[in-house]
Symmetry: C2
């Protein structure tokens, strides 16, 4: 607020002359003249500790964001589903004569923090010369002479996920207006404060404000750009569903010398369960699990083929000597997945006893693709287990139950949600790809679907409107982890892409 | 000491008339008249906290035990391999005219204790009316009128493992002498104080005192009796070898939505490893692992067929609805085994992140049978891993190593030791079985080999003498666990068996 406020005010007061110069050149020029102000805006927002553990700070953030929109001439409302729930910041900026209306979605809440794991205070941003692994130096960016080194990164909670999207929107709007362009569409803003908590009230807010939110396109400003670091659009995201499974051995740990080979070993049963469900190339072996998978369209296959290669540097970065699947990263993550998040049984190392453990637990994370549903996945897994002799229960079994069933498995499913993939051939999709490419000065990366999950299905199910993902943050931003960071070049690219999608989008 | 001291003194002073009455009747009668004294002896010894953590108490125990033997007319020595090592209590009691010499082995040290997990102080014995699961009452046995309920159990550390064997020897000797019988063999006692630490100095003591320990038979007084609760002899024990294995995924935990199905998941690799090594019936799939296994002899097979059935009550006790292997408990534990003691990777439940873990660790416990060797087992496992594409390393791999090898596994083997199985058809074996059966009044349970491991191979390799296991404690004694306990009927049976093997053994 501190630094950009004046610029915004200035932009607001400026004559809205329509510029004849190419939008991308003007926007870049404006950005290069305002780097410190843009970083200052991100720094200001990051200092508001808007995380679920601090509800008062969520309120402060919502009010601050509303102020930033008002200063730019937006009509605003703070929408709320129920008392106590974080406010949804809504903004409207109409363009006389525009035929289309576009909603820009982002979220202002951040993940929780474990302060001890952070190199510096998560809510006092620090600029550094690069990623932590490069042993960067701290930078006093307020006294540095622009242009800033685009490899610098600002560190702080929510700096990337997802406040960078908000700042890219604000700066993109400012750049557009300051350089004499005007939006080509009616603009709507929807910034929520509960995304990291699973957006529990979002559907209700959408339902209650359907008229206010009527639009032709939603641009979802969240998630990382492609690992090639090129500007990216994504047209869907996998769904997700968690499962905690526990299998049972004897009621007390038994000496494995006296009873091993006779008393069933639950750690072995858990291993059998995992290898029966998927192979070590990630292929799913559960019958019916993938029946509802919708094949890729011709355009999706073409987009996949056009992706810049990123595998080799990633393998080096991750220290892996092989990969699963053999199809490459993006093709692998366009399939459904059965991920094992964790497994626990007995003890290892100094904690190992010569004992048959009493139980083994496995945490699964299923990734769903269209047209799979959580119900369908659950049903295929449970049918598969029954066919292999497992009796499924939903609580820890008692002695009678243990004796009656040779193989017992307790399953605890989370709600889960389905995946979503938009139509790449729709006119709106083509228009967004074209506009983003024009502003970037080269074709953007088109991802048919992100491997990670965001609940786009909520928007899809509620809105029946076109939905496209517009990420800005670097893939290596330590999202949801300590020392989250935002690389400056990604922020600059984001400002340009946002400006292009406000000022040069037509269909 | 307090209560039995007088009885022992009395026995020593009594005229050693040779009784004409059957030994087993006399011994039982004596035992029934001296139950409180026998329990008092076990109570006294248990109060000496002779565990590795208290070296001074190990000394106190050795001195007390030497005194008990001297009071009974034994020549004694405290043998020592090196300064600071717990003393080995040696005793000698020759029988004029006896042709055979028998060494009775036991150990006076106990397992460490975690006091918080005990219902009462592990070194202040408490008599209770039954196992803890039966919610027993405490018993003031000092003021109870004998005969005691044989289902009572005395609780305390080392009460079963292995001080009950020592008390059974002492009381068996007293019973023999008091009832006018005399030993049929020359008696030797060897009670060590380092068994729970792996007997690190035992081989040295045996070597240094070979002349003193020259004998025709060693009876190993350790381990539990058969689950049928009938008097038991075992003729061997499986060997044992531990392995900690760690497999590697990415160098840092990665979002499993963005990277699952492409970055290898180490939890899945660990599951594959386990299921490739053994099936869920306990059958070993590692080629060559079982090549050296010596088949059961005709007598061993017959002994197996004669075992009392125990499976159904054990299944109920353990709460298991099936068993592995299908051959029954003892046959299953006569095979080699690959037990999984524990497995760890990532997080489960509340600790689960949507991440590909960086590594997975599995703790294995191999059980070896004759003629397998630790070297042979290690070699077959490492050959098997290489054939499946694993590169074995012995330390955590660096980045270059991770990149160069698609499947890396770190192995940490413990020393391990082989199994042992004596010849059931040897005259000494037949004589021991016959003598024990005569004293018990019915055939004893003959186990060709215990499933659990005791390092009998040390005796075998050093002594080249017959070795037979003579257990007295109940199988459900919570050995190596909190609330260790000794069931009185097992102690009574032990007294009788010991007396029989001192007074009625001839070959």
């Amino acid at each position: 607020m501190r630094t950009i406020g004046f610029a915004a005010l200035f932009a607001l007061l400026a004559v809205h002359a329509v510029s004849a110069a190419p939008l991308n050149r003007d926007v870049r020029q404006w950005r290069m003249q305002h780097e410190a102000e843009i970083v200052g805006q991100l720094d200001d927002l990051t200092r508001i500790a808007s995380i679920a553990a601090e509800p008062a700070k969520l309120d402060v953030a919502a009010t601050a964001l509303e102020g930033l929109l008002r200063a730019r001439g937006f009509d605003t409302h703070l929408l709320s589903a129920s008392a106590g729930a974080p406010k949804v910041v809504f903004g409207r900026y109409d363009t006389p004569g525009a035929r289309r209306t576009v909603v820009f979605y982002a979220h202002y809440d951040g993940q929780p923090v474990t302060r001890s794991q952070w190199v510096s205070d998560p809510f006092i941003p620090v600029m550094r010369t690069g990623p932590l692994a490069s042993k960067p130096s701290d930078v006093d960016w307020r006294h540095a002479k622009p242009p800033f080194d685009p490899e610098w990164r600002l560190y702080g909670r929510a700096v990337a996920d997802d406040k960078a999207s908000i700042v890219a929107f604000l700066a993109g709007f400012d750049a557009l207006k300051a350089s004499g362009h005007r939006p080509s569409v009616n603009l709507r803003v929807l910034w929520e404060g509960e995304e990291e908590a699973g957006s529990p009230h979002l559907a209700e807010v959408l339902r209650a404000n359907a008229a206010l939110l009527k639009a032709d396109l939603w641009l979802i400003g969240d998630g990382p750009v492609h690992q090639s670091r090129r500007s990216t659009l994504y047209f869907g995201a996998r769904g997700s569903m968690g499962l905690e499974a526990t299998v049972y051995g004897p009621v007390r740990a038994l000496h494995d010398g006296h009873y091993g080979n006779w008393v069933p070993n639950p750690a072995v049963m858990a291993a059998e369960l995992i290898t029966a469900m998927r192979d070590d190339e990630g292929h799913i072996l559960v019958p019916g699990f993938s029946d509802e998978v919708r094949p890729l369209s011709r355009s999706e296959t073409a987009a996949l083929a056009a992706l810049p290669p990123v595998e080799e540097p990633l393998k080096r970065e991750f220290g892996i000597g092989r990969t699963e699947g053999g199809e490459g990263l993006t093709a692998s993550t366009l399939r459904p997945a059965i991920n094992v998040r964790g497994i626990r049984s007995g003890g290892i190392g100094a904690e190992a006893n010569n004992a048959i453990p009493t139980e083994a637990s496995v945490s699964f994370d299923f990734r769903l693709v269209p047209n799979q549903t959580p119900d369908g996945v659950r049903s295929s897994v449970e049918t598969f287990l029954a066919a292999r002799g497992w009796t499924v229960c939903d609580r820890t079994p008692d002695l009678a139950m243990r004796l009656a069933h040779p193989r017992l498995i307790k399953l605890t499913w989370d709600m889960g949600y389905p995946g979503f993939r938009a139509d790449l051939d729709a006119p709106v999709s083509k228009a967004v790809i074209a506009a983003a490419g024009r502003t970037a000065g080269r074709p953007v990366v088109v991802l048919p679907m992100m491997g990670g999950s965001v609940p786009i299905y909520v928007f899809d199910a509620m809105l029946k409107t076109a939905l496209i993902g517009l990420p800005v943050v670097n893939h290596d931003n330590s999202q949801h982890a300590p020392n989250e960071n935002m690389r400056l070049q990604n922020l600059w690219d984001g400002v340009e892409t946002y400006a292009g999608l406000m000022g040069d989008l037509n269909w």
